[in-house]
């Protein structure tokens, strides 16, 4: 009970400090609204927020699924063919050094202003942490575990499914925690560069229009989306990973 209560106390204290600062320094509404104003904006703009929430959520979830799935598949190839890993892993590392904000316009040029480019940007953000974690996860088997499998004449397929894959599960969830929030960042970045609808679009528009209360509400909504995805990952993890390493 206290473990849930304590962060709530933490969050409430910050919101209170925010309200106090706005009131004390008489901050004008277009620079920063108070928490009450934002809460009110949630109510009056619910339809607008929801209409922009849906495409962002679709892009984030789509990118999350596609990016992670692709990374797991490629990590599987890398762990079975060392030569392929030696050739392509450095290339992947190189691509990861390109800032996503620099890559996003290119993807939008290729895939257009629709949801495809948003999903692609989100997927790329999710891809790399999962790739690196899964390679490490698949390789985290001990020499004696591999020897045990060899004495039992286990095939490569059996070694993968009975040993490497279960061993990699903690690494899988470590990467999923990262990409749960990163996928939302990717979707919003893509929407900044160019999109018709989405929380990223709403954030840009409300900033330029000084509709600060709606801006804050849009930020809170994107944070809520990321938090929901993160919570689902953590819940899945506690459900699946019941074993402990010694």
């Amino acid at each position: 009970m206290m473990t849930i209560l304590r962060p709530i106390i933490g969050l409430s204290s910050l919101v209170l400090a925010w309200a106090l600062a706005v009131w004390l320094f008489n901050v004008p509404n277009y620079i920063s609204p108070g928490p009450l104003g934002v809460a009110k904006a949630f109510g009056t703009n619910f339809t607008v927020l929801f209409k922009n929430f849906v495409p962002t959520a679709q892009a984030a979830i789509g990118g999350f699924l596609i990016g992670n799935f692709a990374a797991i598949c490629i990590a599987t190839v890398f762990v079975h063919w060392n030569r392929v890993r030696e050739i392509y892993l450095p290339v992947a590392v190189f691509f990861n050094t390109i800032p996503i904000i620099a890559l996003a316009p290119v993807l939008i040029l290729i895939f257009g202003l629709g949801i495809t480019s948003k999903i692609m940007v989100s997927a790329i953000v999710c891809f790399f942490p999962m790739l690196v974690n899964m390679i490490r996860g698949f390789q985290s088997v001990s020499p004696s575990e591999l020897e045990l499998m060899r004495v039992m004449s286990a095939s490569r397929r059996e070694v993968f499914f009975k040993l490497r894959l279960p061993r990699s599960v903690p690494f899988l969830f470590a990467a999923l925690r990262i990409s749960a929030t990163a996928s939302v960042i990717g979707a919003i970045v893509a929407e900044w560069i160019g999109a018709e609808l989405g929380l990223g679009v709403l954030i840009i528009q409300t900033t330029f229009d000084y509709r600060t209360e709606l801006l804050y509400a849009a930020i809170a909504t994107s944070s809520l989306l990321a938090l929901t995805m993160f919570t689902i990952v953590v819940a899945a993890e506690t459900f699946i990973v019941r074993w402990r390493t010694s």
Partner: protein
């Protein structure tokens, strides 16, 4: 008929500081059904020899036969089981599922040998009632018992054990030695057991092969078949003390050769 025949085996490891001869001209003949203990100072290659027999390490030279064929054939026919120093249980599997693992891999069904019942085996190693426990809930000794049950589930013709009780306390080790001897008498399987404990070698071995280090080689094989009573020998008896002292002397001779 011999279960394991090794002749003229050399194994050299290349390390950063040059090649190291782990095994030099090793010859040993282990009859079917024998409990053979390999003993020697650290670095004498006793574990390497075990790994050569299990086809985990290829020899640079020489010949290894397991039941007349090469070790790879014996391994594919699932006639070999190995128990490591660490239990190497898969932590996401329950105790009984760990014992079942050998039946799920390596084309076990096409081997055509009936397996032993995993539940019965857990009873044999004194772990009945712990079937659904997770490995992390067990003590080190219990984990090693599970590893032994797992090794026995395929009814192996050869059981290779690499210092299986090396990490356990003396009391647990003696109790597991008692049980190991019972299992051997019960199954009649050929066992090759590596240890650096003299009392363990004296208690378990029907024959004890003493090795010397640098390079790893055979020093002497001591046959204890006529020396000990059938079944377990009393650890406080004069005979046991005599055998242990005898082994110590052989080991010292082997070390003196280096």
């Amino acid at each position: 008929m011999s279960a394991i025949r090794v002749s003229g085996v050399d194994v050299t490891f290349t390390t950063a500081s040059g090649p190291i001869k782990a095994l030099s001209n090793i010859a040993i003949d282990i009859p079917r059904g024998q409990f053979c203990v390999l003993i020697g100072p650290s670095g004498c290659g006793k574990s390497t020899l075990l790994r050569v027999i299990a086809d985990l390490q290829a020899p640079d030279r020489g010949e290894v036969q397991v039941f007349g064929g090469n070790p790879a054939e014996a391994r594919h026919a699932r006639r070999i089981s190995f128990v490591f120093q660490e239990a190497t249980l898969l932590p996401w599997r329950s105790v009984i599922d760990n014992v079942r693992l050998p039946l799920e891999v390596g084309k076990w069904k096409s081997v055509g040998r009936p397996n032993r019942d995993p539940g019965e085996l857990l009873k044999l190693v004194g772990l009945s009632g712990r079937e659904s426990a997770q490995p992390h809930q067990l003590s080190g000794g219990q984990r090693q018992r599970v590893a032994i049950a797992r090794a026995l589930v395929t009814r192996p013709d050869v059981l290779l054990m690499d210092e299986p009780f090396g990490a356990l306390d003396e009391i647990t080790r003696e109790r597991l030695n008692d049980e190991m001897l019972k299992i051997w008498l019960d199954t009649g399987t050929t066992i090759v057991f590596v240890t650096h404990s003299l009392p363990e070698a004296a208690f378990l071995g029907q024959s004890v092969a003493v090795m010397a280090a640098h390079p790893g080689r055979m020093s002497q094989t001591i046959n204890l078949e006529g020396e000990k009573p059938a079944g377990a020998i009393d650890r406080s008896s004069a005979k046991f003390f005599e055998i242990t002292s005898d082994l110590r002397r052989h080991l010292e001779t082997a070390e003196g050769m280096a």
